[in-house]
C-alpha cells in the first residue's frame, strides 16, 4: 500500500477530534456496531455519530455494511498502520538529525 500525502492528511485530520478517537476506540472494542449502539454509549446524538462516522469512513478508518435499515460499522486498521509507519519514518529522520547535531556540537 502506497501512503500518499492525502491519506496521511485525512487520517490525521480524522483523528484530530477527541470524539472521533473515542468512537474509534469504542468501535474497535465492539468489533462491529451501528450508529444507534454507538450513540447509546457516547454523550452525543446519533446524528453527530453519523457525521463522525462519515469523516472516519472518508479517511478509510471505518467501513460500513448495510444490514436492514441500518449500517454496521467496523474499524479498518490499514490506514492507521500506514500513517503510523509514515509518522515513524519522519520521527526517525529527526532522531538521525539530532544525533548529527549532537556529534557536531560535541566535536
Amino acid at each position: 500500500m502506497t501512503t500518499t500525502a492525502r491519506q496521511v492528511e485525512e487520517v490525521l485530520a480524522a483523528l484530530a477530534d477527541p470524539m472521533r478517537r473515542r468512537l474509534l476506540d469504542l468501535l474497535a472494542r465492539h468489533g462491529e456496531a451501528t450508529a444507534t449502539v454507538l450513540a447509546d454509549a457516547l454523550p452525543v446524538t446519533r446524528q453527530a455519530i453519523v457525521k463522525h462516522l462519515a469523516v472516519l469512513s472518508r479517511a478509510g478508518l471505518v467501513a460500513g455494511t448495510r444490514e436492514g435499515r441500518e449500517m454496521r460499522y467496523r474499524v479498518r486498521p490499514e490506514p492507521l498502520t500506514a500513517t503510523a509507519a509514515w509518522m515513524s519514518r519522519v520521527a526517525s529522520q529527526w532522531d538521525a538529525r539530532l544525533d548529527a547535531i549532537k556529534r557536531i556540537a560535541e566535536s
Binding site: E9, G31, P77, L98, A105
Partner: protein
C-alpha cells in the same frame, strides 16, 4: 491516540551557544541539514533559511521565531521541494534549547501534518528516507486500536 506532531529530544554535552550555532550558522547547519549545497540563512522572523538536501531537494524555509539561544522555529514545506513555505503546505519545526547540568537539552517538535493541503495526485516526498526507529507512543496506541 495520535497527535499531529512529532517530538524528539536529546542532551548534548556542549554549551547552549554552541548548539545554537549548529542550528543557525550556515557552515555548521550544512553539516547536518543542508547536505547538498551550503545553507543560506537570513536569521530574523520572516527571513528564509535555504536548505538543500541534494539533487533537486531545495527547501526555502520561513523563519517564524528567533530568540537566541533558546528558541528557533520555521515553517518547512518538506513535501514540496522548491516551494516557499506557507501555512497550507508546510509543517512548523520548533527547536527549544535549555541549559542543563550536562550541557544542553535540545528538543524538536514538528507539527501541523494534518493541515497540509496536498494536491490529490501528489506523493509526499517527506519521509522518503527509511530508518528503523519507531515512534513508540503513537505506534503502541495505534496498534491497540488496530488489534481491537
Amino acid at each position: 491516540m495520535t497527535d499531529d506532531r512529532i517530538e524528539r529530544e536529546t542532551t548534548i554535552n556542549a554549551p547552549i551557544e554552541r548548539v545554537w550555532a549548529v542550528l543557525t550558522e550556515p557552515d555548521l547547519l550544512s553539516q547536518w541539514f543542508s547536505t547538498g549545497k551550503r545553507a543560506e540563512v537570513d536569521l530574523r522572523p520572516g527571513g528564509i533559511i535555504r536548505l538543500n538536501h541534494g539533487e533537486n531537494f531545495d527547501y526555502p524555509t520561513r523563519i517564524v521565531r528567533v530568540e537566541p539561544p533558546t528558541h528557533l522555529s520555521y515553517r518547512w514545506a518538506s513535501a514540496f521541494p522548491g516551494t516557499d513555505a506557507t501555512e497550507d503546505n508546510s509543517t512548523l519545526v520548533e527547536f527549544t534549547l535549555e541549559a542543563v547540568a550536562d550541557g544542553t537539552l535540545l528538543r524538536v517538535v514538528e507539527s501541523g501534518f494534518a493541515a497540509i493541503d496536498v494536491p490529490a495526485d501528489m506523493e509526499y516526498r517527506a519521509g522518503y528516507e527509511s530508518h528503523t526507529h519507531g515512534w513508540p507512543e503513537v505506534l503502541d496506541a495505534m496498534r491497540k486500536v488496530a488489534a481491537g
